[in-house]
């Protein structure tokens, strides 16, 4: 297989394509958050911390807590150090733009409403002061108290004037399906601010219909299914018809499952229309108008041509965006990842599609 993306030959000579990494995970330490909380929330944080279990507590990662072995800064945590992120990602791979996704929002956003809002607000303040102000290549997602949608909408409105916040962070597992009406203030605020929703896998995974799995392997494979469930919830509950301009980015859930999901929805919809009267055209059309995907961890059939076929069936190649998932164990490097994608799509996937969604400039190359 050949790659149309030449490797970076030497410092100073840039390739002619833009690289956007749409899934980078910063991690705030307690010392970053405490000074940004009111006295009351600070005492709460020091006393109780966060009561919401993160996915690794239920499904432990197999090695090194699920992080790259080389990503632990002295006295810190993977993703807590901007300079290390520059060294290992932004500079090393000549990344033009990186989108931060602070996964602590998945847990903190589920706490008692005002505490959740304070934690997410402190997380966003830290991102502004310690990452966005110091590194112009970075953009961020807004962490929100997503189980308190009214407060989440306030946080979105508060950040909307800062153009460095380019999307609103959601998880895939909520107390209810994220399509249900109680979450709509989030989508209204995002649509008003012209910001996409980025649904990153994780959060509170509930019973799943089949019951709780036992292993991380199962949980990780299920990431595609949980993303499909999220899209179904949004579609069937009417989010895409209520908010016709809203865009939803599916982060870290894979892509290839979207074809079979759309076939199933389009096969069933004509027979079940009374159940979803708000859907006035085949469900696949809503998905193609509202949904984007990030690549890591993209499905890998034995024959790469099979992925090309699956992507052609999906028909959304202009809505697929490269992601590295730094600093997690299954990191895709911007240098190696293009080989996973069909040659004709590599330039768009590596940067052009993300630039279009997020309004970012493409790389200028001297003639």
């Amino acid at each position: 297989m050949t790659s149309t993306l030449p490797m970076r030959r030497s410092a100073g000579r840039r390739t002619d394509h833009t690289i956007v990494d749409s899934d980078i995970h910063p991690h705030a330490l307690a010392r970053d958050i405490l000074p940004r909380l009111s006295a009351q929330h600070r005492r709460r944080f020091e006393t109780f911390g966060s009561r919401v279990p993160g996915p690794p507590e239920i499904y432990p990662r197999v090695r090194n807590s699920g992080f790259r072995l080389d990503s632990w800064p002295e006295g810190g945590f993977p993703g807590s150090d901007l300079q290390m992120t520059r060294d290992q990602l932004l500079d090393l791979y000549d990344v033009d733009h990186g989108i931060l996704i602070p996964l602590q929002g998945h847990s903190w956003g589920v706490e008692q409403p005002h505490y959740a809002a304070a934690l997410c607000g402190a997380l966003n303040d830290w991102l502004v002061e310690e990452w966005l102000d110091r590194e112009p290549r970075l953009r961020s997602s807004i962490a929100i108290p997503h189980e308190s949608p009214d407060l989440a909408a306030e946080e979105i409105a508060r950040r909307a004037d800062d153009p460095r916040f380019v999307q609103v962070l959601l998880s895939t597992g909520g107390e209810s399906g994220f399509g249900v009406r109680r979450y709509w203030p989030i989508y209204r605020a995002a649509a008003d601010a012209k910001l996409p929703i980025a649904a990153h896998t994780g959060g509170l995974e509930q019973h799943r219909g089949a019951g709780w799995p036992s292993f991380y392997l199962e949980e990780h494979v299920w990431n595609g299914n949980t993303m499909a469930s999220l899209l179904m919830s949004m579609l069937c509950e009417g989010v895409f018809t209520e908010f016709p301009t809203l865009q939803v980015v599916c982060v870290e859930g894979g892509i290839a499952w979207a074809g079979p999901l759309m076939w199933a929805l389009d096969e069933a919809w004509p027979r079940l229309r009374e159940d979803v009267p708000h859907l006035t055209k085949p469900p696949s059309e809503y998905i193609r108008e509202h949904v984007w995907f990030t690549t890591q961890p993209v499905e890998e059939p034995d024959d790469p041509e099979h992925l090309e076929i699956a992507l052609r069936h999906i028909g959304m190649n202009d809505r697929i965006m490269f992601a590295s998932d730094y600093p997690h164990w299954d990191f895709d490097s911007p240098q190696q990842a293009p080989r996973l994608f069909p040659a004709a799509l590599r330039r768009d996937i590596m940067g052009a599609n993300a630039c279009r969604l997020y309004g970012l400039p493409e790389r200028e190359v001297a003639a």
Binding site: E218, W263, A264, E267, E299
Partner: protein
Amino acid sequence: MTSVQTAVVDTDVHCSPKALSDLSPYLDAYWRGYITEGGIALSPTQGGAYPPAVPTSGTPAPSSVDELRAGFLDVRGPQLPQLNLAVLNCTTSFHCNRNPYYEAALCRAVNDWLVAEWLERDDRLRASMVVPTLDTAAAVAEIERIGDHPRIVQVLLPVRTDAPWGNVRHRPLLRAAAERGLVVGLHAWGRIGNAPTSSGMTHTYLEDYIANSQIIVQGQVTSLVTEGVFAHLPDLRVTLLECGFSWLPTLLWRFDKDWKGVWREVPWLDAKPSETVRRHLRLTTAPAQLPRDPEQMREALDLLDAGSMLLYASDHPHDHGSGGERLLAALSDEERERVLGGNAADWYRPA
């Protein structure tokens, strides 16, 4: 479709008692009292699975052999292949209440009713037996009681469960089936009351319908393979019924990739998940969720290896639309012969 000469096996034909009173002869006095005094009745929607007026539900499932013959078995036109065998699936116990003793009694009654009123009245019929899902020991006892009946070919399990079927708590049930050469069938729908998706309860039937015909089953497949069920029970065969099939290739691409990444967690897996699945699983043809474009449909069937993996099912009386006809028309003659009967004959090895 060209006329079919091959032996046709319909692997998913539904039947259901008209009322719980149909099962009275097969229940003891305590359970008859439990039902009549408690006012317990069959759910008119089968636990939300098949609301009667919904087009995909079709007509009510036949409640007697005569009804099945008159409405289905003996009514064969050019579009309907001549049946050699039909596998009866009764899902009446799937959405049972949470009393595990009642669930066991209900399953026993359904099985006795299937044998006495169906299998012994028409040579073309085979059946899946049902087992309680809340009490593994009772499920094993039921398989030991009736699983050796020559016309019982499968143990039918709901795809919606408290815990996934690969979970170690269920292993004795799967072992009891495998030891008798019974196929284990996972069929759409099942346990009510649990959230049917990863994010909670749903408000629309469409969401439930797709979750049951495509999504939940993927968690079950992943569970069965990951927990080492097939390494433990190398003779076990599993059929996925009314759960769709077009989602399988993309699931296996994810599964193989993730296994390569975290194989340390599951050292008992000695082959790629996709190889294990292709050896131990088959899927029924209804509902057929396929692209409309004929070229894309053919590609989807090739990715699946449809000629090897699929077992024909009418899913009578359910009606999922035209996908099943489009599927059969798209298969080569050789593939169609395999799907209509050859695969099922190899898989179920019916007496």
